[in-house]
Protein backbone atom coordinates (compact mmCIF):
# COMPACT_ATOMS: atom_id res chain seq x y z
CA UNK A 1 0.00 0.00 0.00
CA UNK A 2 2.76 2.41 1.01
CA UNK A 3 4.69 1.59 -2.17
CA UNK A 4 1.64 2.34 -4.31
CA UNK A 5 1.16 5.60 -2.47
CA UNK A 6 4.75 6.68 -3.07
CA UNK A 7 4.74 5.81 -6.80
CA UNK A 8 1.58 7.80 -7.06
CA UNK A 9 3.05 10.78 -5.28
CA UNK A 10 6.24 10.53 -7.33
CA UNK A 11 4.12 10.61 -10.49
CA UNK A 12 2.19 13.54 -9.09
CA UNK A 13 5.49 15.30 -8.41
CA UNK A 14 6.66 14.79 -11.98
CA UNK A 15 3.40 16.16 -13.39
CA UNK A 16 3.70 19.21 -11.12
CA UNK A 17 7.24 19.89 -12.32
CA UNK A 18 6.11 19.58 -15.93
CA UNK A 19 3.24 22.02 -15.34
CA UNK A 20 5.64 24.47 -13.66
CA UNK A 21 7.97 24.37 -16.65
CA UNK A 22 5.14 24.90 -19.13
CA UNK A 23 3.71 27.74 -17.06
CA UNK A 24 7.11 29.40 -16.83
CA UNK A 25 7.44 29.33 -20.59
CA UNK A 26 3.93 30.78 -21.06
CA UNK A 27 4.66 33.40 -18.43
CA UNK A 28 7.76 34.56 -20.21
CA UNK A 29 6.20 34.83 -23.69
CA UNK A 30 5.33 38.54 -23.27
CA UNK A 31 8.88 39.37 -22.22
CA UNK A 32 10.37 37.27 -24.96
CA UNK A 33 8.07 38.90 -27.47
CA UNK A 34 9.00 42.45 -26.56
CA UNK A 35 12.68 41.51 -26.59
CA UNK A 36 12.44 39.88 -29.99
CA UNK A 37 10.35 42.69 -31.50
CA UNK A 38 13.18 45.09 -30.59
CA UNK A 39 15.45 43.30 -33.06
CA UNK A 40 12.98 42.79 -35.89
CA UNK A 41 12.89 44.46 -39.26
CA UNK A 42 9.95 46.85 -39.34
CA UNK A 43 7.87 44.71 -41.68
CA UNK A 44 8.35 41.59 -39.54
CA UNK A 45 6.90 43.15 -36.40
CA UNK A 46 3.28 43.19 -37.52
CA UNK A 47 2.91 40.10 -39.68
CA UNK A 48 0.16 37.50 -39.50
CA UNK A 49 1.07 34.86 -38.40
CA UNK A 50 3.66 36.43 -36.09
CA UNK A 51 7.25 36.11 -37.28
CA UNK A 52 9.29 33.92 -34.96
CA UNK A 53 12.38 33.40 -37.08
CA UNK A 54 14.04 36.40 -38.63
CA UNK A 55 17.47 37.88 -39.10
CA UNK A 56 17.98 40.10 -36.03
CA UNK A 57 19.03 43.65 -36.74
CA UNK A 58 19.80 46.72 -34.63
CA UNK A 59 17.98 49.22 -36.86
CA UNK A 60 15.21 49.74 -34.26
CA UNK A 61 17.83 50.92 -31.76
CA UNK A 62 19.37 53.29 -34.29
CA UNK A 63 15.91 54.67 -35.02
CA UNK A 64 15.30 55.10 -31.31
CA UNK A 65 18.24 57.42 -30.89
CA UNK A 66 17.73 59.46 -34.06
CA UNK A 67 15.26 61.74 -35.75
CA UNK A 68 14.83 60.86 -39.39
CA UNK A 69 13.02 61.92 -42.56
CA UNK A 70 11.87 59.81 -45.47
CA UNK A 71 14.33 59.66 -48.38
CA UNK A 72 12.95 61.34 -51.51
CA UNK A 73 15.29 59.49 -53.85
CA UNK A 74 17.89 56.79 -53.37
CA UNK A 75 21.24 57.89 -51.97
CA UNK A 76 24.14 58.06 -54.40
CA UNK A 77 26.59 55.19 -54.15
CA UNK A 78 29.46 57.42 -53.03
CA UNK A 79 27.48 58.86 -50.19
CA UNK A 80 26.33 55.41 -49.12
CA UNK A 81 29.91 54.14 -49.12
CA UNK A 82 31.09 57.01 -46.96
CA UNK A 83 28.24 56.75 -44.48
CA UNK A 84 28.77 55.36 -41.01
CA UNK A 85 27.33 51.91 -40.22
CA UNK A 86 24.26 53.28 -38.48
CA UNK A 87 23.56 55.74 -41.28
CA UNK A 88 23.66 52.84 -43.74
CA UNK A 89 21.09 50.95 -41.69
CA UNK A 90 18.76 53.92 -41.84
CA UNK A 91 19.38 54.40 -45.58
CA UNK A 92 18.45 50.74 -46.04
CA UNK A 93 15.15 51.49 -44.35
CA UNK A 94 14.58 54.36 -46.82
CA UNK A 95 15.20 57.15 -44.35
CA UNK A 96 17.82 59.76 -43.56
CA UNK A 97 19.07 60.86 -40.12
CA UNK A 98 18.61 64.55 -39.38
CA UNK A 99 19.52 64.75 -35.73
CA UNK A 100 19.57 62.97 -32.38
CA UNK A 101 16.22 62.01 -30.86
CA UNK A 102 15.20 63.26 -27.40
CA UNK A 103 15.29 59.67 -26.14
CA UNK A 104 18.91 59.85 -24.99
CA UNK A 105 18.13 62.96 -23.01
CA UNK A 106 15.07 61.35 -21.34
CA UNK A 107 17.05 58.24 -20.55
CA UNK A 108 19.78 60.34 -18.99
CA UNK A 109 17.16 62.19 -16.89
CA UNK A 110 15.92 58.83 -15.64
CA UNK A 111 19.42 57.80 -14.59
CA UNK A 112 20.26 61.10 -12.86
CA UNK A 113 16.95 61.41 -11.03
CA UNK A 114 16.90 57.77 -9.92
CA UNK A 115 20.52 57.86 -8.71
CA UNK A 116 20.34 61.14 -6.80
CA UNK A 117 16.99 60.36 -5.17
CA UNK A 118 18.21 56.89 -4.20
CA UNK A 119 21.32 58.36 -2.63
CA UNK A 120 19.35 60.95 -0.65
CA UNK A 121 16.65 58.55 0.51
CA UNK A 122 19.17 55.90 1.49
CA UNK A 123 21.35 58.33 3.44
CA UNK A 124 18.47 59.86 5.38
CA UNK A 125 16.78 56.48 5.71
CA UNK A 126 19.83 54.68 7.12
CA UNK A 127 20.37 57.33 9.78
CA UNK A 128 16.72 57.25 10.75
CA UNK A 129 16.62 53.45 10.77
CA UNK A 130 19.60 53.41 13.12
CA UNK A 131 17.90 55.96 15.34
CA UNK A 132 14.76 53.85 15.58
CA UNK A 133 16.66 50.60 15.94
CA UNK A 134 19.03 51.57 18.74
CA UNK A 135 17.36 54.29 20.75
CA UNK A 136 14.12 54.62 22.63
CA UNK A 137 11.80 56.88 20.68
CA UNK A 138 8.58 57.93 22.31
CA UNK A 139 5.69 56.49 20.29
CA UNK A 140 8.11 54.59 18.09
CA UNK A 141 5.47 52.42 16.45
CA UNK A 142 3.29 55.40 15.68
CA UNK A 143 6.17 57.20 14.02
CA UNK A 144 7.12 54.16 11.98
CA UNK A 145 3.48 53.75 11.05
CA UNK A 146 3.34 57.36 9.95
CA UNK A 147 6.50 56.95 7.88
CA UNK A 148 5.14 53.89 6.09
CA UNK A 149 1.72 55.40 5.53
CA UNK A 150 3.25 58.20 3.44
CA UNK A 151 4.27 55.47 1.01
CA UNK A 152 0.68 54.30 0.60
CA UNK A 153 -0.65 57.64 -0.63
CA UNK A 154 -1.79 57.43 -4.25
CA UNK A 155 0.42 59.69 -6.41
CA UNK A 156 -2.59 61.28 -8.10
CA UNK A 157 -3.93 62.42 -4.73
CA UNK A 158 -0.67 64.03 -3.61
CA UNK A 159 0.16 65.39 -7.04
CA UNK A 160 -2.60 68.02 -7.20
CA UNK A 161 -1.42 70.20 -4.27
CA UNK A 162 2.25 69.44 -5.00
CA UNK A 163 1.81 70.63 -8.55
CA UNK A 164 0.39 73.93 -7.31
CA UNK A 165 3.23 74.33 -4.81
CA UNK A 166 5.87 73.42 -7.37
CA UNK A 167 4.40 75.87 -9.81
CA UNK A 168 4.67 78.63 -7.28
CA UNK A 169 8.32 77.93 -6.43
CA UNK A 170 9.32 77.05 -9.98
CA UNK A 171 9.94 73.33 -9.54
CA UNK A 172 7.63 72.07 -12.28
CA UNK A 173 9.59 70.24 -14.98
CA UNK A 174 12.87 70.38 -13.06
CA UNK A 175 15.17 67.58 -12.01
CA UNK A 176 15.13 68.86 -8.44
CA UNK A 177 11.34 68.63 -8.27
CA UNK A 178 11.24 64.96 -9.26
CA UNK A 179 14.26 64.17 -7.09
CA UNK A 180 12.46 65.57 -4.03
CA UNK A 181 9.32 63.57 -4.80
CA UNK A 182 11.19 60.32 -5.40
CA UNK A 183 13.30 60.84 -2.29
CA UNK A 184 10.10 61.12 -0.25
CA UNK A 185 8.68 58.07 -2.02
CA UNK A 186 11.72 55.96 -1.22
CA UNK A 187 12.48 57.37 2.19
CA UNK A 188 9.79 55.44 4.03
CA UNK A 189 10.83 52.29 2.24
CA UNK A 190 14.51 52.82 3.14
CA UNK A 191 13.70 53.44 6.81
CA UNK A 192 11.67 50.25 7.12
CA UNK A 193 14.01 48.04 5.17
CA UNK A 194 17.18 49.38 6.79
CA UNK A 195 15.66 49.08 10.24
CA UNK A 196 15.16 45.39 9.54
CA UNK A 197 18.77 44.98 8.49
CA UNK A 198 20.20 47.01 11.40
CA UNK A 199 18.03 45.17 13.93
CA UNK A 200 19.84 41.99 12.90
CA UNK A 201 23.29 43.35 13.81
CA UNK A 202 24.08 42.36 17.40
CA UNK A 203 24.16 45.43 19.61
CA UNK A 204 27.15 43.99 21.51
CA UNK A 205 29.55 45.07 18.76
CA UNK A 206 28.73 48.72 19.31
CA UNK A 207 28.72 48.39 23.06
CA UNK A 208 32.23 46.99 22.93
CA UNK A 209 33.30 49.84 20.66
CA UNK A 210 31.74 52.43 22.99
CA UNK A 211 33.66 50.93 25.90
CA UNK A 212 36.82 51.23 23.80
CA UNK A 213 36.23 54.98 23.59
CA UNK A 214 34.45 55.30 20.24
CA UNK A 215 31.86 58.03 20.08
CA UNK A 216 28.34 56.96 19.23
CA UNK A 217 28.74 58.34 15.74
CA UNK A 218 32.04 56.52 15.21
CA UNK A 219 30.43 53.30 16.38
CA UNK A 220 27.66 53.81 13.85
CA UNK A 221 30.03 54.79 11.07
CA UNK A 222 32.79 52.24 11.59
CA UNK A 223 30.84 49.26 12.91
CA UNK A 224 27.18 49.34 11.97
CA UNK A 225 27.56 50.67 8.43
CA UNK A 226 30.12 48.07 7.26
CA UNK A 227 28.05 45.33 8.91
CA UNK A 228 24.96 46.36 7.01
CA UNK A 229 26.66 46.74 3.63
CA UNK A 230 24.56 44.00 2.01
CA UNK A 231 21.39 45.55 3.35
CA UNK A 232 22.40 48.97 2.09
CA UNK A 233 23.16 47.59 -1.36
CA UNK A 234 19.84 45.73 -1.56
CA UNK A 235 17.89 48.77 -0.35
CA UNK A 236 19.71 50.98 -2.86
CA UNK A 237 18.82 48.71 -5.75
CA UNK A 238 15.17 48.56 -4.68
CA UNK A 239 14.96 52.32 -4.37
CA UNK A 240 16.64 52.79 -7.70
CA UNK A 241 14.13 50.48 -9.38
CA UNK A 242 11.19 52.29 -7.75
CA UNK A 243 12.41 55.68 -8.96
CA UNK A 244 13.36 54.27 -12.35
CA UNK A 245 9.89 52.79 -12.85
CA UNK A 246 7.82 55.68 -11.51
CA UNK A 247 5.34 57.05 -14.01
CA UNK A 248 2.49 59.06 -12.47
CA UNK A 249 4.52 61.85 -10.84
CA UNK A 250 6.77 62.11 -13.88
CA UNK A 251 3.71 62.43 -16.10
CA UNK A 252 2.14 65.19 -14.03
CA UNK A 253 5.24 67.13 -12.94
CA UNK A 254 7.35 67.15 -16.08
CA UNK A 255 6.76 67.61 -19.76
CA UNK A 256 10.07 68.15 -21.52
CA UNK A 257 13.26 69.24 -19.81
CA UNK A 258 13.18 66.89 -16.85
CA UNK A 259 10.92 64.22 -18.32
CA UNK A 260 12.01 60.66 -17.58
CA UNK A 261 11.78 57.64 -19.86
CA UNK A 262 8.49 56.06 -18.59
CA UNK A 263 6.22 58.91 -19.75
CA UNK A 264 8.35 59.54 -22.81
CA UNK A 265 8.39 56.08 -24.38
CA UNK A 266 4.57 55.71 -24.60
CA UNK A 267 4.21 59.28 -25.86
CA UNK A 268 6.23 58.31 -28.92
CA UNK A 269 3.56 55.91 -30.09
CA UNK A 270 1.88 57.23 -33.18
CA UNK A 271 4.17 60.21 -33.53
CA UNK A 272 5.29 60.13 -37.12
CA UNK A 273 8.35 58.03 -37.78
CA UNK A 274 8.03 55.83 -34.72
CA UNK A 275 6.93 52.24 -35.19
CA UNK A 276 6.50 49.31 -32.86
CA UNK A 277 10.02 47.98 -33.34
CA UNK A 278 11.38 51.31 -32.13
CA UNK A 279 9.03 51.35 -29.13
CA UNK A 280 10.11 47.79 -28.38
CA UNK A 281 13.75 48.83 -28.59
CA UNK A 282 13.11 51.62 -26.07
CA UNK A 283 11.25 49.22 -23.81
CA UNK A 284 14.06 46.69 -24.10
CA UNK A 285 16.73 49.21 -23.08
CA UNK A 286 14.52 50.41 -20.26
CA UNK A 287 13.67 46.97 -18.85
CA UNK A 288 17.05 45.33 -19.27
CA UNK A 289 18.71 46.92 -16.20
CA UNK A 290 15.68 46.02 -14.08
CA UNK A 291 15.95 42.37 -15.13
CA UNK A 292 19.64 42.31 -14.18
CA UNK A 293 18.90 43.94 -10.83
CA UNK A 294 16.13 41.45 -10.12
CA UNK A 295 18.60 38.61 -10.43
CA UNK A 296 21.10 40.39 -8.18
CA UNK A 297 18.35 41.01 -5.63
CA UNK A 298 16.73 37.58 -5.73
CA UNK A 299 17.65 36.71 -2.11
CA UNK A 300 16.12 39.95 -0.83
CA UNK A 301 12.97 40.22 -2.94
CA UNK A 302 10.62 38.96 -0.24
CA UNK A 303 12.02 41.36 2.32
CA UNK A 304 11.88 44.19 -0.17
CA UNK A 305 8.26 43.79 -1.21
CA UNK A 306 7.08 43.52 2.39
CA UNK A 307 9.04 46.55 3.61
CA UNK A 308 11.38 44.35 5.61
CA UNK A 309 8.58 42.80 7.68
CA UNK A 310 9.00 39.24 6.40
CA UNK A 311 12.54 37.94 6.27
CA UNK A 312 12.03 34.23 5.67
Amino acid sequence: MAAVESTRSRFFNKVAILIVLILTVIYLIPLYWIGSTAFKPRAAATTVPPTVFYKPEVTPFVKLFTKRVQLRKAVSEDKYEQAKWYEKLVYDAGERIITRSPFLNRFWNSIIIACVSTFLALTLGTFTAYGFSRFKVKGENDWLFFILSTRMLPPVVVAIPIFLMFRRIGLVDTHLGLILLYTALNLSFCVWLMKGFIDEIPIEYEEAALVDGYTRFEAFWKIVLPQSATGIAATAVFSFITAWNEYAFALMMTNRKAQTAPPFIPSQLGSGMIDWTTIAAGTFIFLFPVAIFTFLLRKHLLRGVTFGAIRK
Binding site: I17, F135, N141, L153, V157, L187, N245
Partner: protein
Protein backbone atom coordinates in the same frame (compact mmCIF):
# COMPACT_ATOMS: atom_id res chain seq x y z
CA UNK B 1 39.00 69.26 33.81
CA UNK B 2 37.23 67.77 36.76
CA UNK B 3 37.07 64.04 37.30
CA UNK B 4 33.40 63.82 36.40
CA UNK B 5 33.85 65.60 33.09
CA UNK B 6 36.60 63.17 32.12
CA UNK B 7 34.28 60.20 32.51
CA UNK B 8 31.66 61.75 30.27
CA UNK B 9 31.85 60.13 26.83
CA UNK B 10 33.38 61.99 23.94
CA UNK B 11 31.17 63.23 21.17
CA UNK B 12 27.47 63.93 21.11
CA UNK B 13 25.06 62.45 23.60
CA UNK B 14 22.82 59.59 22.49
CA UNK B 15 19.84 61.87 22.69
CA UNK B 16 21.43 64.40 20.35
CA UNK B 17 22.44 61.66 17.90
CA UNK B 18 18.96 60.19 17.97
CA UNK B 19 17.33 63.51 17.24
CA UNK B 20 19.84 64.30 14.53
CA UNK B 21 19.16 60.93 12.87
CA UNK B 22 15.39 60.83 13.16
CA UNK B 23 14.09 64.38 12.91
CA UNK B 24 15.26 65.27 9.36
CA UNK B 25 13.31 62.34 7.90
CA UNK B 26 10.14 63.23 9.78
CA UNK B 27 10.42 66.88 8.77
CA UNK B 28 11.10 66.00 5.15
CA UNK B 29 8.11 63.65 4.94
CA UNK B 30 5.84 66.20 6.58
CA UNK B 31 6.97 68.87 4.12
CA UNK B 32 6.57 66.74 1.00
CA UNK B 33 3.58 64.60 1.94
CA UNK B 34 1.56 66.02 4.81
CA UNK B 35 1.77 69.74 4.18
CA UNK B 36 0.42 69.40 0.62
CA UNK B 37 -2.46 67.36 1.97
CA UNK B 38 -3.46 70.20 4.27
CA UNK B 39 -3.21 72.54 1.35
CA UNK B 40 -5.53 70.38 -0.73
CA UNK B 41 -7.91 69.94 2.21
CA UNK B 42 -8.35 73.71 2.27
CA UNK B 43 -8.77 73.89 -1.50
CA UNK B 44 -11.38 71.14 -1.39
CA UNK B 45 -13.76 73.68 0.15
CA UNK B 46 -13.34 76.11 -2.73
CA UNK B 47 -14.61 76.59 -6.22
CA UNK B 48 -11.22 77.05 -7.78
CA UNK B 49 -9.37 76.30 -10.99
CA UNK B 50 -5.59 76.46 -11.00
CA UNK B 51 -5.49 77.80 -14.54
CA UNK B 52 -7.89 80.70 -14.10
CA UNK B 53 -6.97 84.04 -12.56
CA UNK B 54 -10.11 83.96 -10.43
CA UNK B 55 -9.29 83.61 -6.71
CA UNK B 56 -10.77 80.63 -4.83
CA UNK B 57 -14.44 81.06 -4.02
CA UNK B 58 -15.19 79.45 -0.66
CA UNK B 59 -18.27 77.28 -0.98
CA UNK B 60 -18.05 75.05 2.10
CA UNK B 61 -18.86 71.39 1.57
CA UNK B 62 -20.59 71.89 -1.76
CA UNK B 63 -17.81 70.07 -3.68
CA UNK B 64 -18.25 67.00 -1.51
CA UNK B 65 -22.01 67.17 -1.81
CA UNK B 66 -21.85 67.40 -5.60
CA UNK B 67 -19.35 64.56 -5.86
CA UNK B 68 -21.35 62.21 -3.70
CA UNK B 69 -24.42 62.92 -5.81
CA UNK B 70 -22.57 62.56 -9.11
CA UNK B 71 -23.52 59.26 -10.81
CA UNK B 72 -20.22 59.34 -12.78
CA UNK B 73 -18.22 59.19 -9.56
CA UNK B 74 -20.27 56.24 -8.37
CA UNK B 75 -19.84 54.58 -11.75
CA UNK B 76 -16.08 55.07 -11.47
CA UNK B 77 -16.08 53.55 -8.01
CA UNK B 78 -18.12 50.63 -9.28
CA UNK B 79 -15.67 50.06 -12.16
CA UNK B 80 -12.81 50.23 -9.68
CA UNK B 81 -14.49 47.71 -7.41
CA UNK B 82 -15.03 45.35 -10.34
CA UNK B 83 -11.41 45.76 -11.36
CA UNK B 84 -10.12 45.12 -7.84
CA UNK B 85 -12.18 41.96 -7.48
CA UNK B 86 -11.18 40.51 -10.86
CA UNK B 87 -7.54 41.34 -10.60
CA UNK B 88 -6.93 40.45 -6.95
CA UNK B 89 -8.82 37.15 -7.12
CA UNK B 90 -6.97 36.31 -10.33
CA UNK B 91 -3.65 37.03 -8.67
CA UNK B 92 -4.62 34.97 -5.64
CA UNK B 93 -5.56 31.94 -7.73
CA UNK B 94 -2.59 32.09 -10.11
CA UNK B 95 -0.04 33.14 -7.48
CA UNK B 96 -1.06 30.63 -4.83
CA UNK B 97 -1.54 27.90 -7.43
CA UNK B 98 1.93 28.32 -8.88
CA UNK B 99 3.38 28.50 -5.37
CA UNK B 100 1.77 25.13 -4.52
CA UNK B 101 3.28 23.63 -7.67
CA UNK B 102 6.68 25.16 -6.99
CA UNK B 103 6.78 24.03 -3.38
CA UNK B 104 8.81 20.86 -4.00
CA UNK B 105 12.34 20.12 -5.06
CA UNK B 106 12.66 21.12 -8.70
CA UNK B 107 15.93 21.33 -10.63
CA UNK B 108 16.74 25.01 -11.24
CA UNK B 109 14.02 26.16 -8.85
CA UNK B 110 15.85 29.36 -7.86
CA UNK B 111 16.19 30.48 -11.47
CA UNK B 112 12.59 29.58 -12.34
CA UNK B 113 11.32 31.53 -9.33
CA UNK B 114 13.39 34.58 -10.21
CA UNK B 115 12.26 34.45 -13.85
CA UNK B 116 8.64 34.32 -12.71
CA UNK B 117 9.25 37.30 -10.45
CA UNK B 118 10.56 39.51 -13.27
CA UNK B 119 7.20 41.08 -14.27
CA UNK B 120 6.49 42.56 -10.86
CA UNK B 121 9.79 44.45 -10.80
CA UNK B 122 9.00 46.29 -14.01
CA UNK B 123 7.45 49.66 -14.64
CA UNK B 124 3.64 49.47 -14.76
CA UNK B 125 3.61 52.07 -17.52
CA UNK B 126 6.03 50.17 -19.73
CA UNK B 127 4.31 46.85 -19.07
CA UNK B 128 1.01 48.44 -20.07
CA UNK B 129 2.61 49.78 -23.22
CA UNK B 130 3.94 46.48 -24.45
CA UNK B 131 0.80 44.57 -23.55
CA UNK B 132 -0.92 46.90 -25.97
CA UNK B 133 1.32 45.40 -28.62
CA UNK B 134 0.45 41.90 -27.47
CA UNK B 135 -3.28 42.71 -27.51
CA UNK B 136 -3.25 44.09 -31.06
CA UNK B 137 -6.37 42.70 -32.79
CA UNK B 138 -4.90 41.88 -36.20
CA UNK B 139 -1.29 40.87 -35.53
CA UNK B 140 -1.02 40.58 -31.73
CA UNK B 141 0.50 37.43 -30.33
CA UNK B 142 -2.35 36.90 -27.84
CA UNK B 143 -5.03 36.59 -30.49
CA UNK B 144 -2.72 34.37 -32.52
CA UNK B 145 -1.96 31.99 -29.65
CA UNK B 146 -5.57 31.82 -28.49
CA UNK B 147 -6.82 31.45 -32.05
CA UNK B 148 -9.07 34.50 -31.74
CA UNK B 149 -9.11 36.13 -35.10
CA UNK B 150 -9.22 39.91 -34.98
CA UNK B 151 -10.78 39.90 -31.53
CA UNK B 152 -10.69 43.47 -30.20
CA UNK B 153 -9.44 43.75 -26.62
CA UNK B 154 -8.43 47.28 -25.76
CA UNK B 155 -10.97 49.29 -27.71
CA UNK B 156 -13.84 47.00 -26.83
CA UNK B 157 -15.93 48.37 -23.97
CA UNK B 158 -16.97 44.87 -22.92
CA UNK B 159 -13.52 43.42 -22.35
CA UNK B 160 -11.18 46.42 -21.96
CA UNK B 161 -11.35 46.27 -18.17
CA UNK B 162 -10.71 42.53 -18.28
CA UNK B 163 -7.73 43.10 -20.57
CA UNK B 164 -6.19 45.51 -18.06
CA UNK B 165 -6.93 43.10 -15.21
CA UNK B 166 -5.25 40.24 -17.10
CA UNK B 167 -2.13 42.36 -17.51
CA UNK B 168 -2.26 43.20 -13.83
CA UNK B 169 -2.66 39.52 -12.98
CA UNK B 170 0.34 38.66 -15.15
CA UNK B 171 2.36 41.34 -13.47
CA UNK B 172 1.42 40.79 -9.83
CA UNK B 173 0.62 37.09 -9.40
CA UNK B 174 4.35 36.61 -8.75
CA UNK B 175 3.95 38.83 -5.71
CA UNK B 176 1.31 36.52 -4.24
CA UNK B 177 3.47 33.56 -5.28
CA UNK B 178 6.50 34.97 -3.46
CA UNK B 179 4.61 35.43 -0.20
CA UNK B 180 2.86 32.07 -0.52
CA UNK B 181 6.18 30.31 -1.08
CA UNK B 182 7.54 31.93 2.07
CA UNK B 183 4.51 30.73 3.99
CA UNK B 184 4.61 27.22 2.53
CA UNK B 185 8.30 26.69 3.19
CA UNK B 186 7.79 27.70 6.82
CA UNK B 187 5.31 24.89 7.49
CA UNK B 188 7.07 22.25 9.62
CA UNK B 189 7.53 18.98 7.69
CA UNK B 190 6.56 16.85 10.68
CA UNK B 191 2.97 18.02 10.40
CA UNK B 192 2.72 16.43 6.96
CA UNK B 193 4.45 13.28 8.19
CA UNK B 194 1.97 13.01 11.03
CA UNK B 195 -0.89 13.47 8.58
CA UNK B 196 0.55 10.76 6.32
CA UNK B 197 0.73 8.33 9.23
CA UNK B 198 -2.91 9.06 9.97
CA UNK B 199 -3.69 8.33 6.29
CA UNK B 200 -5.21 11.79 5.93
CA UNK B 201 -6.36 12.55 2.40
CA UNK B 202 -4.51 15.08 0.29
CA UNK B 203 -7.47 17.45 0.44
CA UNK B 204 -7.78 17.09 4.20
CA UNK B 205 -4.08 17.82 4.66
CA UNK B 206 -4.36 20.85 2.45
CA UNK B 207 -7.43 22.19 4.22
CA UNK B 208 -6.30 21.50 7.75
CA UNK B 209 -2.54 22.05 7.61
CA UNK B 210 -1.46 23.99 4.55
CA UNK B 211 -4.23 26.54 4.31
CA UNK B 212 -4.41 27.70 7.92
CA UNK B 213 -0.63 28.08 8.12
CA UNK B 214 -0.27 30.07 4.89
CA UNK B 215 -3.31 32.26 5.51
CA UNK B 216 -1.50 35.03 7.45
CA UNK B 217 0.90 35.67 4.58
CA UNK B 218 -1.79 35.25 1.94
CA UNK B 219 -3.84 37.83 3.76
CA UNK B 220 -0.96 40.29 3.66
CA UNK B 221 -0.55 39.70 -0.05
CA UNK B 222 -4.28 40.13 -0.70
CA UNK B 223 -4.67 43.32 1.34
CA UNK B 224 -1.60 44.86 -0.26
CA UNK B 225 -2.76 43.99 -3.76
CA UNK B 226 -6.27 45.25 -2.98
CA UNK B 227 -4.85 48.58 -1.97
CA UNK B 228 -2.62 48.79 -5.01
CA UNK B 229 -5.39 47.70 -7.40
CA UNK B 230 -7.65 50.31 -5.88
CA UNK B 231 -5.04 52.97 -6.64
CA UNK B 232 -4.31 51.68 -10.17
CA UNK B 233 -3.47 54.52 -12.49
CA UNK B 234 -0.40 53.81 -14.64
CA UNK B 235 -1.49 50.57 -16.23
CA UNK B 236 -5.01 51.63 -17.17
CA UNK B 237 -3.97 55.12 -18.18
CA UNK B 238 -1.40 53.81 -20.65
CA UNK B 239 -3.52 50.97 -21.98
CA UNK B 240 -6.89 52.65 -22.43
CA UNK B 241 -6.74 56.14 -20.92
CA UNK B 242 -10.07 55.33 -19.28
CA UNK B 243 -11.82 54.46 -22.52
CA UNK B 244 -13.51 53.34 -24.63
CA UNK B 245 -16.07 55.86 -23.37
CA UNK B 246 -15.81 55.51 -19.62
CA UNK B 247 -15.56 51.70 -19.63
CA UNK B 248 -12.23 51.64 -17.78
CA UNK B 249 -12.35 54.96 -16.01
CA UNK B 250 -10.99 53.80 -12.66
CA UNK B 251 -11.34 56.26 -9.82
CA UNK B 252 -7.66 57.32 -10.03
CA UNK B 253 -8.07 58.12 -13.72
CA UNK B 254 -11.29 60.00 -13.04
CA UNK B 255 -9.41 62.04 -10.46
CA UNK B 256 -6.53 62.71 -12.85
CA UNK B 257 -8.91 63.86 -15.59
CA UNK B 258 -10.73 66.14 -13.20
CA UNK B 259 -7.50 67.61 -11.81
CA UNK B 260 -5.36 68.07 -14.91
CA UNK B 261 -7.04 68.10 -18.29
CA UNK B 262 -10.23 69.67 -16.85
CA UNK B 263 -8.49 71.77 -14.17
CA UNK B 264 -11.36 71.54 -11.66
CA UNK B 265 -8.83 71.97 -8.88
CA UNK B 266 -11.18 72.52 -5.94
CA UNK B 267 -13.48 69.67 -6.82
CA UNK B 268 -10.64 67.28 -7.58
CA UNK B 269 -9.11 68.03 -4.17
CA UNK B 270 -12.40 66.98 -2.62
CA UNK B 271 -12.46 63.75 -4.64
CA UNK B 272 -8.82 63.15 -3.66
CA UNK B 273 -9.86 63.41 -0.02
CA UNK B 274 -12.67 60.93 -0.43
CA UNK B 275 -10.16 58.55 -1.99
CA UNK B 276 -7.57 59.27 0.66
CA UNK B 277 -9.91 58.30 3.46
CA UNK B 278 -10.61 54.96 1.76
CA UNK B 279 -6.89 54.31 1.20
CA UNK B 280 -6.02 55.19 4.79
CA UNK B 281 -8.66 52.70 5.90
CA UNK B 282 -7.17 49.86 3.83
CA UNK B 283 -3.56 50.74 4.61
CA UNK B 284 -4.27 50.76 8.35
CA UNK B 285 -5.50 47.20 8.10
CA UNK B 286 -2.49 46.29 5.98
CA UNK B 287 0.14 47.71 8.31
CA UNK B 288 -1.58 46.07 11.28
CA UNK B 289 -1.29 42.65 9.64
CA UNK B 290 2.27 43.39 8.57
CA UNK B 291 3.22 44.11 12.17
CA UNK B 292 1.49 40.95 13.29
CA UNK B 293 3.49 38.88 10.78
CA UNK B 294 6.66 40.54 12.04
CA UNK B 295 5.98 39.51 15.59
CA UNK B 296 5.62 35.84 14.74
Amino acid sequence: MTATAATVRRGLSDLAIRNMFVIPTIVFLILINIFPLFYSLILSFADYSAVSAKPPDWIGIQNYRELLRDPHVWESLYITLKYVIISVSGQLVVGFGVALLLNRSIPGKGTITTLLLLPMMMSMAIVGLFWKLLYSPSWGIINYLLGLQNFVWISNADVALLAIAITDIWMWSPFVMLLSLAGLSAIPKHLYEAAAIDRASRWFTFRRITLPLVTPLLLIAVIFRTMEAFKTFDLAFIMTGGGPGTATELIAIKLYNMAFPQWQTGKSCALAYILLIMIIGISNIYIKYLNKAKER
